[in-house]
């Protein structure tokens, strides 16, 4: 896996806010009984605030069920937010009707989590990748077929695959087909929902590299979803760590991987194998005990307190706000790690309670 080259990042027009989420919420109502009365809600996403800058890759990382896919579906307006706002390129799309949203869909596209489920088994590759042109009534210079074949080549498939069906391809190839479909409309932002987690480890790097190449070629902005910090380490510009529908920590890549402030991030990082052997000794493995609590009835105060080794009484009663603790580094914790360059040793704190 190649590390993102400094020149590649510098060439892109970093800066402007392209996609902004403010206090974004999605609660799925739970209905019971004959009258379908609402008896509760799954608080899948519960107040996310972040910005995605033009040309950058923001990664959303968290355990299964923390609301990553829901966030992606909110950003692409496949579902309607319960609260908060979404701004795409300066335009508020929070509650746009599907008709008003249709032309804007060219700007924001999504790569789906399951390469087996995201392609209609009854359609040919040509029909699948050609669908964006037909649905958005995009004129192509040499016809849709040529455009589809160009896209196939772009993602490393053969143009001869045009008449084939999804079941004739491997997982990695299917994900390439999905990527080609999102590229058809030349979007500004691509929300990639765990694009490689369903793939063999040996293929993951190929697909990630392809996505990086495409980003450089087309000035794409990525919201990259992953459940594991190691997968996105090399492709992210910034990383947001999610837990139970909330952002726990958001920071520049280097800052987050080298000076994690939130205990949850520290725990996730300690589970990541460290390639650098000299550092392996002074970092202890923190095992997260217990299950992720239900998003139907999340813990009071800090949502992480049921599993946090630093938790104190304050954590159970008062929710810590997401605040900037150093330049470009926000965390939501009463007792963050790595805040000052003093002698506080994070592993010492971790070791004493683990």
């Amino acid at each position: 896996m190649s590390t993102k080259t400094e020149t590649g990042a510098a060439n892109r027009r970093l800066g402007e806010d392209l996609l902004v989420a403010t206090d974004l919420q999605k609660h799925f109502p739970i209905r019971r009984g004959l009258l379908q009365r609402q008896v509760g809600a799954v608080q899948a996403v519960d107040g996310l605030t972040f910005t995605v800058k033009r040309g950058e890759t923001l990664s959303l990382v968290g355990e299964s069920g923390c609301g990553k896919t829901t966030t992606g579906r909110l950003l692409t307006r496949l579902i309607e937010p319960t609260g908060g706002t979404i701004t795409l390129d300066g335009r508020d799309i929070t509650h746009l009707s599907s008709g008003a949203m249709r032309p804007l869909r060219r700007d924001i596209q999504m790569i789906f989590q399951d390469p087996y489920g995201s392609l209609n088994p009854r359609h040919t590759v040509g029909a699948i990748i050609g669908a964006p042109f037909r649905l958005q009534k995009v004129k192509t210079e040499h016809g849709v077929k040529r455009a589809v074949q160009d896209l196939l080549e772009l993602v490393g498939l053969s143009p001869e695959h045009y008449n084939r069906y999804p079941h004739e391809f491997s997982g990695g190839q299917r994900q390439r087909i999905g990527i080609a479909r999102t590229l058809a409309l030349r979007p500004k932002v691509i929300v990639a929902d765990e694009p490689v987690s369903a793939l063999d480890v040996s293929i993951q790097a190929q697909v990630v590299n392809l996505m990086e190449d495409l980003q450089n070629e087309f000035d794409l902005t990525y919201v990259m979803i992953a459940h594991d910090l190691s997968v996105v380490r090399h492709v992210s510009d910034r990383v947001a760590v999610m837990y139970l529908g909330k952002i726990m920590e958001i920071a520049d890549r280097t800052s987050l991987y080298e000076r994690p402030m939130h205990p949850y991030t520290v725990a996730l990082l300690s589970a990541v194998p460290i390639p650098d052997t000299s550092r392996r000794d002074n970092r202890e493995r923190i095992r997260l005990t217990g299950d992720v609590p239900s998003p139907i009835n999340p813990p009071s105060g800090c949502r992480f307190h049921t599993r946090c080794w630093k938790a104190q009484d304050l954590c159970k009663t008062t929710e810590p706000p997401l605040v900037e603790l150093s330049a470009g580094h926000q965390a939501a914790c009463h007792f963050p790690e790595n805040t000052t360059k003093l002698t506080i040793d994070p592993t010492g704190a971790a070791g004493s309670a683990a």
């Binding site: 379908q36 579906r73 692409t76 496949l78 599907s98 949203m101 249709r102 032309p103 869909r105 596209q109 999504m110 789906f112 989590q113 399951d114 390469p115 087996y116 489920g117 995201s118 392609l119 209609n120 088994p121 009854r122 359609h123 040919t124 590759v125 669908a131 964006p132 649905l135 958005q136 490393g156 053969s158 001869e160 695959h161 008449n163 084939r164 069906y165 079941h167 004739e168 391809f169 491997s170 997982g171 990695g172 190839q173 999905g178 479909r181 409309l185 369903a198 793939l199 063999d200 040996s202 293929i203 190929q206």
Partner: protein, 334 residues
């Protein structure tokens, strides 16, 4: 599920076609799931046997319908009283095995001596016609209702699901007997026979749609959650596009399978109605009617054997073919 190792390079093809070993692998044109299903079906000997029996039955039924006299030899309603034993008062056919002979290969009926083979042939078109058209009616109503329920969900789904429950709880047999009793024999300028056939198609077809409806609803519900539907929506697809382009092509296979499996059920139902005397009126031959006649002559089992066998073989053939079709189309066995 782990993905198979990816082969890079332009000429390398994915090979998830393990089911098709021995088939030429390199083909520029991709094979659709339908083509693969056909290749698999072709190798399922039991299903093919079922299909052949069905094809023969259809030929016989068409011939019997068009020729009136079966193969121009004997008429199904022609009496052969000269072959009946009137001396002993049993009115049984003369000769052995129910009067089997070259002229009457399956023997003749007691009392009036009608040719059994001719009546079986003549009964085939009524059975197949009623069962097939009733199935078509069920499929049309069931698919429409099932898709609407599954696609729109919410109170529409609740309403249609309850409606299906009501239909399934309906005392159909009793209703059919009552309805046939009160309706006039002729209507719309049709012959009594045609009116009765139409009525049977309506009763059987109209009340069986929930079986198809439930399956289609369930399939639609699960398809609706698949990511390719989200993918279409994220490209700006509207409801009708999703319904007709994304969902319906995936529903064709299950509808086809359950339609094939509904036909034998309908054949049995039609036979039961004829057996109970609310089917097609005498003297028109039906398999159920023949069984009903035979039940009065239990000392002459051959009379009951042949129509029973006809029903049995037909139902079995449809079921075997339907099962084979389901296996061939099952995406899990891909």
């Amino acid at each position: 599920m782990t993905a198979p190792p990816e082969v890079t390079g332009s000429a390398a093809d994915a090979d998830p076609e393990a089911a098709l070993q021995g088939m030429p692998k390199k083909a520029i044109q991709g094979r659709s799931l339908g083509q693969i299903a056909w290749l698999r079906l072709k190798r399922d000997k039991v299903a093919i046997a079922g299909a052949i029996v069905i094809a023969l039955l259809i030929l016989v039924a068409i011939a019997a319908l068009l020729l009136d006299r079966v193969f121009d030899v004997v008429h199904p309603n022609e009496f052969h009283q000269d072959l009946i034993d009137t001396q002993n008062g049993t009115l049984a056919p003369l000769g052995t095995f129910g009067g089997m002979s070259g002229a009457h290969p399956l023997g003749i009926e007691p009392v009036n001596g009608r040719d059994i083979l001719a009546r079986i042939f003549a009964g085939s078109w009524i059975s197949l016609l009623i069962a097939t058209l009733a199935t078509v009616l069920s499929v049309i109503i069931g698919t429409t209702m099932g898709i609407i329920a599954g696609f729109f969900g919410g109170w529409v789904d609740t309403l249609i699901s309850r409606l299906m429950d009501v239909f399934l709880a309906f005392p159909l047999l009793v209703f059919a007997m009552a309805l046939v009793g009160v309706l006039p024999d002729t209507a719309f300028g049709l012959s009594p026979e045609m009116v009765r056939i139409g009525l049977l198609i309506f009763i059987i077809g109209f009340f069986n749609w929930p079986y198809i409806g439930r399956i289609v609803r369930g399939q639609t519900l699960s398809l609706r959650e698949r990511e390719f539907v989200d993918a279409a929506r994220s490209l700006g697809a509207r409801g009708p596009y999703i319904l007709f382009r994304e969902l319906l092509p995936n529903l064709v296979a299950p509808i086809l399978v359950y339609a094939t499996l509904l036909i034998p059920t309908n054949i049995l139902f039609e036979s039961a109605l004829s057996f109970l005397g609310v089917g097609i009126n005498a003297p028109t031959a039906t398999w159920g009617g023949m069984l009903s006649d035979a039940s009065r002559f239990y000392t002459m089992p051959h009379f009951m054997l042949w129509p029973g066998l006809a029903i049995f073989v037909t139902v079995l053939a449809f079921n075997l073919f339907g099962d084979g079709l389901r296996d061939a189309l099952d995406p899990r066995a891909r």
